[in-house]
Amino acid sequence: MIAINVIIGMVLIIIGLSFQVLGALGLIRLPDVYNRLQAATKSITLGAISIAIGVGVMDPTLLTKAILVAVFLLITNPISSHAIARGAYRSGVPLWKGSVVDKYGPALERKEREVKE
């Protein structure tokens, strides 16, 4: 008989791994930087956090460290991909030709006009 916490941990790790696979697939298949960042941020953050918590549940002595790792990932990963997206937009990486909405460009223009006035 396997202990209940091991089963829960396994399930969490499998969920995390499937999100990681989806994220990696997105990195390969999606057309431009901004779309790829969606895959790299959302699904990979969730996958990594899920794996960390799963390991913590399987071995309760590691739970504190696992939660710390998860919180740290939750803080840093969105910030870094935000910085990457901003840097890419400011240095002129074009959007995919099928993109429907771009709110950052008009906002930037409006801000520049305000600064001039």
């Binding site: 740290f72 803080i75 840093t76 910030i79 935000h82 910085a83 901003r86 840097g87 400011r90």
Partner: protein, 260 residues
């Protein structure tokens, strides 16, 4: 022709270097550096956790594995070797790092960024990056301090902790391109830490064994596995951590130049 003149000019420098090497040789040929190595057959593949026959130890490695925790009071064998048995080498490593950082500073001080084309408009960092870096920076520095404070108990040590602190400072530089730690503060921390390292070595000269960088307090203040168990080792690692951290921070700052 050109080569000939440069060779002539470099003759005094070569002679000076040879003279310096000869002086060093004469000065240090009589000095004993540590205990003599036991030179015999290398061990057959040893597995960690195996019982060691302390009577018939044939190599330095097996000797360290058998005796390190009682001789140095350190639970981490790597730290015991790096700081205790080969402490003099570590002093040399720290000196090399210091020379490298100084050399980079000296080279970069000749370069002036007059080129207007290179002085592009600096993109100010966004609010999210700025606040996020301010949130994360204390945690990173705390982790670096933890790594070098627990160097004798868990993996890690002065070098690793110092570099972690330096990468935290790097994040700060990215988040605040116009600000920076003052060079004066960095160099004061660096020199103090270097002096502390040498001073702890001289403490070894004054205690029972009368060897530079000896660790005579091992196990006096606590059992193996406690924070204070390893005598002078944690103090030396604190000094190395501050020194490496400030050197690396200074290196990154010099490479960054004025305003990214």
């Amino acid at each position: 022709m050109m080569e000939r003149t440069t060779f002539h000019r470099s003759l005094p420098a070569i002679a000076l270097a040879l003279l310096f090497a000869a002086t060093l040789f004469v000065a240090f040929v009589e000095v004993d550096f540590g205990e003599p190595r036991i030179e015999e057959e290398l061990p057959v593949n040893y597995q960690p956790g195996e019982e060691i026959d302390t009577e018939n130890i044939t190599t330095p490695g097996l000797r360290y594995l058998a005796n390190s925790s009682e001789e140095t009071g350190s639970a981490n064998l790597v730290t015991a070797v790096v700081v205790n048995y080969r402490g003099f080498d570590t002093l040399g490593e720290v000196t090399i790092l210091f020379l490298a950082a100084t050399g980079v500073g000296a080279l970069l001080s000749f370069i002036k960024d007059d080129d207007e084309k290179k002085k592009k408009k600096i993109l100010p960092p966004s609010l999210i990056l700025n606040k996020g870096a301010r949130l994360v920076l204390p945690l990173i520095i705390l982790f670096g301090v933890y790594v070098f404070l627990h160097g004798h108990l868990s993996p890690g040590g002065g070098f690793q902790g110092g570099v972690i602190i330096a990468s935290g400072m790097l994040l700060f530089y990215i988040a605040e391109p116009t600000k920076g730690a003052s060079h004066k503060v960095i160099s004061i921390i660096e020199s103090t830490a270097g002096l502390a390292f040498i001073g702890l070595g001289i403490v070894g000269l004054m205690t029972a064994s009368k060897i530079f960088l000896a660790n005579d307090f091992a196990g006096d203040w606590g059992e193996v596995g406690m924070l204070v168990s390893a005598g002078l080792l944690p103090l030396i690692y604190i000094a190395i951590g501050f020194k490496v951290g400030s050197e690396m921070t200074g290196l990154v700052e010099k490479m960054r130049g004025d305003g990214s």
